[in-house]
Amino acid sequence: MARHLVIGSGASGVHYALTILERGEEVTLLDVGYERPAAPLPDATYTQLKEQLADPLSDILGERSEYVVYPGPVSKPYGFPPSKSYVFRQPAAWSLTSRGFDPLVSFARGGLAEAWTGGSYELDERDLAAFPFSLGELQPHYATVARRIGIAAERDDLERFSPMTAGYDAPLPLDAHSAQLLGAYARKRQRVNALGVYLGRSRVAVLTKPLGERAECTQLGRCLMGCPRESLYAPSYTLRQLHRFPGFAYVPGVFVERILLDGDGRATGVMTRELAAGAEKRFTGDRVVLAAGALASSRIYLSTLQHENGAAPELPGLMDNRHVMMPFVTPSRVGHDVEIASYQFHHLALGMRGNSAGDDVHGQITALKGAQVHPIVSSLPFDFRTSLSVFGRVRAALGIANFWLADTRRAANVAELRVTDDARHQLVLSYGDDRSDLGRTNQAIAAIRKSLRIIGAIAPKSQTAVLPRGSSVHYAGTLPMTNDERKHTCRADGSVRGFERLIVADGAAFSSLPAKNITFTLMANAVRIAHASQ
């Protein structure tokens, strides 16, 4: 019976592992694995939490108020609370530097998707044009993942961008602001569509009916803090499921340094370093599966080559979605009341078709409901007292459209390794925008702003922010799946050329980066690769 050494417990790792375990094989999952703290008062709404917690100031703002979002040149409409600090904690062994790229990396149990807002969109043929497998080979695995995690969705205009072949649950109840925008879209669809923009319900990995130990969403308004009912999916829930299989072993507290290879370039195991004791520890297995996230997996791969050859190559083709944040106000909602305890994240999504898949745009629209007030009020163009009065009257009218542009692999955007003076392996990322990026971004901004205007929302130009590269948190492309027999690439089944029994199951193996949120596809692709890994 094969033993798979899976590195990382994020979206890709846990779904690869679950598929293998369901087949009756064995999995050892190696992880740094910082743990999610238990959510207090699981039935309290966000506002009740402030009244019922013994020390809400520490729980929500931190012991030294270090989670307050202070005003700064880059406007931040919210900050992650202390309950999410485990997602972004980094071990001392990890070292990263970057140029033109500002990435987030997670070593949490569940990885970066522990902070996922749940957007789940199937790719279409056009998105997969650069991949060495067909849509038909991926689609059955969307169904598997949808069954495992639960996705609330509805058929609408967005189906022209993102098929709905998996089984979906009923959608969440719409908040009043989102319902108004969607109603306006239904009446003025033709004018919006003429701009190439289509609107619909966002498809979210949130339960509208119970699933196993997880309960349905009751709109507590604690999505950002971490849903205490586990309605909003996080990979750590799947990790918990893995423990039920006798063939599963979870090893947290280890930092994977490199892959062990035999004389024929066959992966035989991994060398790790224990976080607590600092001792090296070796694990052996029949397959080694890189699922630590595109950046951490690239570092492990490069460290392996550095160890074996005394030098590591550049990995070209690093990708990231350009991320634009467009706050808006819907004047006809000024003076309305707002339901503070409600599902906090996006209810609406948008798609915009470009000339090619590389020009497509995907977005999610969030109407403001319950939220931290201070980051928003401090960003309004008045003194605090005036801003608070204005905010109270326009709160029900505020929203934000976040949208992302597709990316393609380019030779100039690379991940490489630097050996530091103290012999540490540091991942170095370099990213430079292509000349066409600015034009595509500006076109998307103009079309989406006009579309919002048509449905009754105004997005002030001065408030629209093109965020620094890396902020999309969708990283990919350093060890791409391709049909070309080139070094440092994978075959369609995720196996790395030149290294037997080494598999890439995460975003590093993506051949291009579609505009749509890739988390659902990361999971489905990991299931596909697990099926191929016989």
Partner: protein, 147 residues
């Protein structure tokens, strides 16, 4: 423990932000966070703005109005942001911030027009009071980092 001046500053800022009273935990947290900042000393003009703002609610409004466009990431704006964060989070004070102010559309727009007019008048006054001090004492300050 916060000294008398710091307690007064917290009380004035909390009142300015609409709180009827300031629980002692908020004063202590406010003080503790500011102690932590003091690793980086304030610029002279920022210190002057904070002193002016802490005098009374009326002067807080003047100093804050000026700071919003002349020192948007300066000490005063950061202190007021901190105080607002504490007020909106504490169990005894959060209710005033966790709500909208529903009204008729006409009433809301009328209120917004009134707020805008008052703000414009206050901005003129703020420039008249603060700009000379800014010219005498001013220097740029970096943005404070969030966690």
């Amino acid at each position: 423990m916060p000294n008398e001046r710091e307690v007064r500053e917290a009380r004035v800022f909390a009142s300015y932000l609409g709180a009827a009273s300031v629980p002692s935990e908020i004063s202590e947290r406010y003080h503790r966070a500011i102690q932590h900042w003091r690793a980086a000393p304030s610029e002279r003009f920022d210190a002057w703005l904070v002193r002016l703002a802490a005098t009374s609610q009326g002067l807080t409004a003047i100093a804050d109005t000026y700071a919003r466009f002349a020192r948007p990431y300066g000490d005063l704006r950061c202190r007021l942001t901190l105080m607002l964060a504490l007020l909106e989070t504490h169990g005894a004070t959060h209710a005033a911030y966790d709500r909208a102010r529903p009204s008729s559309a006409a009433g809301a727009w009328l209120a917004l027009a009134g707020l805008g007019t008052l703000w414009a008048l206050r901005a003129l006054l703020a420039v008249a009071i603060c700009a000379p001090a800014h010219l005498l004492l001013g220097a740029k300050v970096p943005a404070r980092q969030s966690a």
